[in-house]
């Protein structure tokens, strides 16, 4: 376990610096006028120019700039938007509603994926299984830019079942439709992984032993098979988080939910470069941290991993 931990942490450090370096380099390196690039096509005044040069240390060599950027990230200073708001404050404002949205989505996904995954895993090749497989394929290939506006149009506006927009203090009901849209991004993969894990575990020796001991079918499936089948699903959490982040940008933008994704959506629209860099950097860090935790959790859940 210890060796695994060390190796994984070293890998994490490398990925962390690599990823932030790429994001930073993409934003600033090799540009004739990085300040104009930050502001996009907006005109920029001399005083703004001076302030931006100072803020981003653009008069220093590139590695120096990167050093300042990293120092800011690690001390919680993510910079200031072009509209002169502190990015850390904007984030603090935006997180609660995004976290609520993501939690609702994850709970729905977990229920649907596990229930449907177990059923189709047990009855492999049956009607339910075949229908689910085709459905997951369709859901899997539905781009979020199609799903979010169409869901809002049909269920929010035409049928009027759900409110088409949400506020900062939105409750469960207001967030339900966007959460369903968001959840559809990850439900298909989770369902498929659960299904194949269940089908594989049903054939394993310990299940035969459990059956031979005379345990009921319910106990065999609900305890023995399910617990072992959920291990691979755990690893998906890390990958899913990336999908949920990308999905949140479009979903929150379409449904006007003032969360993290919406802020990023608006930052791109208004060409607020510092805001984009700040938000993206924080999200990348969150993504890397969660992936590290997931890997450690995976090693704790499945002892076979540690000895690899």
């Amino acid at each position: 376990m210890f060796r695994y931990l060390i190796r994984r942490l070293l890998q994490m450090v490398l990925t962390f610096f690599g990823a932030t370096f790429i994001v930073y380099a993409l934003m600033f390196a090799n540009q004739t006028d990085p300040i104009q690039a930050l502001a996009g096509e907006r005109p920029i005044t001399d005083s703004q120019r001076l302030a931006l040069t100072e803020r981003y240390h653009l008069d220093e060599p590139f590695l120096g700039q990167y050093w300042h950027y990293m120092k800011g990230l690690l001390t919680g200073d993510f910079g200031i938007s072009l509209t002169n708001r502190k990015i850390s404050e904007m984030m603090a404002d935006a997180w609660p509603v995004t976290i609520r949205l993501a939690l609702i989505a994850i709970v729905i996904v977990a229920i649907v994926a596990i229930v449907a995954g177990v059923i189709s895993g047990i009855r492999r090749g049956g009607t339910f299984d075949n229908v689910t497989l085709v459905l997951t394929l369709v859901v899997l290939s539905m781009p979020i830019v199609v799903l979010a506006p169409l869901a809002r149009l049909v269920f929010g506006i035409q049928l009027g079942w759900f409110p088409p927009t949400a506020t900062r203090d939105a409750g469960f009901y207001e967030l339900l439709l966007p959460a369903l849209v968001l959840g559809s991004l990850v439900v298909a993969t989770e369902l498929r992984v659960t299904r194949s894990a269940v089908a594989e575990n049903l054939r394993s020796d310990y299940v035969r032993t459990a059956r031979a001991k005379g345990l009921t079918r319910q106990r065999v499936v609900g305890v023995h098979v399910l617990r072992n089948s959920l291990i691979p699903v755990v690893t998906l959490i890390g990958v899913d988080l990336g999908n949920l982040m990308s999905g949140a940008i479009v979903t929150e933008g379409v449904f006007n939910i003032p969360g993290v994704g919406f802020n990023l959506f608006r930052a791109i629209k208004t060409e607020d470069g510092p805001l984009v860099v700040g938000f993206v950097s924080v999200l990348v860090i969150v993504f890397l941290m969660v992936n590290l935790l997931v890997d450690l959790l995976y090693a704790a859940l499945d002892p076979r991993i540690r000895y690899e």
Binding site: Q11, L14, T15, F16, G18, A19, I22, V23, L26, M27, Q31, A37, G40, E41, V134, L137, V138, L140, S141, M142, P143, I144, V145, V146, P149, L150, R152, L153, I157, Q158, L241, G242, M245, S246, I249, V250, G253, V254, L264, F265, I268, K269, G273, V276, V277, V280, L283, V284, F287, L288, N291
Partner: protein, 302 residues
């Protein structure tokens, strides 16, 4: 000689029993797969739409008049007119070209990078593999869309272009990792085979070994990954365009149409619905195709 009929029957009997190649086996499987046919028909329709949009009887997508704003469907414009008074059907049909072209070219770029990286890492192993694999880890460590937003924004900062190449380069440079991993693992699996050893003893150099002996046996999985990537790249292009960092300006694109129709959806739904349907069907078609081909080549996965 006396009975030519018998000879032909015997030959065809031999032909039936002849062991089929992997590709032949896969093709036999594919032909019986309904999903494959649905996907193939859809792909053909959209590819034809991208090459010769005129055959679909659409009008001029750039012929817009504000006087027709949000007019309903008619014989001239099957899906009605959008906010600018442009024919929605014509724009949707002509939008196929940008989507499929961006999808194809970015997949080609991602495939080339993935091929080179995977082949090099898998063939040479050792420290080369270690360095390249860590490189793959770093790119995979980035949340895809977030990195794509930053990269596309950076590449299309020059206002004179319409973002076409920026999107292709973005998707290509961020999307090669899966292809590289698949390539790497199948190269590792096949490089220790006897026929590769035999070729090496006969004096083949690394380049010849890779191109002639290892590569042909690693292509099936690789092509499947690329087909699915083509579908997801089309979806990501639309997402980037929708967010405003993809195709821009006067480009005709489904992402732009969806974005522009959004605010006016209460007065006119068609300008939002139809590009969405076209986009979803195209993405679905390529992903279904990839899925069906994978099932055919690797029945174990079913």
């Amino acid at each position: 000689m006396s009975d030519p009929q018998a000879v032909t029957t015997a030959e065809s009997a031999v032909g039936r029993d002849k062991p089929r190649s992997l590709a032949g086996d896969a093709w036999r499987d594919l032909r019986r797969n309904k999903i494959f046919w649905v996907a193939a028909v859809l792909v053909t329709v959209f590819v034809v739409m991208a090459i010769v949009p005129a055959v679909f009887g659409a009008g001029d997508p750039r012929d817009c008049a504000l006087s027709r704003q949000h007019d309903g469907p008619s014989g001239n414009a099957f899906f009605g007119y959008d906010f600018q008074g442009c024919d929605v059907y014509a724009k949707a049909v002509y939008g196929a070209r940008n989507s499929i072209l961006v999808g194809l070219l970015s997949t080609l770029l991602a495939g080339t990078i993935g091929l080179i990286m995977g082949l090099t890492a898998g063939y040479f192993g050792g420290w080369v593999d270690a360095v390249l694999s860590r490189g793959i880890d770093v790119v995979l460590g980035l949340p895809f869309l977030l990195a794509a937003i930053v990269l596309a924004r950076r590449l299309s900062s020059d206002p004179s272009n319409n973002g076409f190449w920026a999107v292709i380069v973005t998707l290509g440079f961020l999307g090669w990792t899966t292809a590289a991993r698949v390539m790497r693992s199948s190269v590792i699996a096949s490089k220790n085979q006897d026929y590769v050893a035999a070729a090496r003893m006969l004096g083949s150099g690394p380049a010849r070994l890779m191109m002639k002996h290892i590569l042909p046996n690693s292509t099936a999985a690789f092509i499947v990954v690329l087909t699915i990537l083509l579908g997801t790249n089309i979806a990501t292009e639309a997402t980037l365009t929708f967010l405003g960092v993809g195709l821009k300006g006067d480009a005709i694109s489904w992402g732009i149409m969806i974005n522009e129709a959004g605010p006016n959806v209460r007065t006119a739904a068609e300008p939002l619905v139809w590009p969405s349907v076209f986009l979803a069907l195209t993405v679905l078609a390529f992903i279904m195709l990839g899925d069906a081909v994978r099932d055919a080549f690797d029945p174990k996965l079913r």
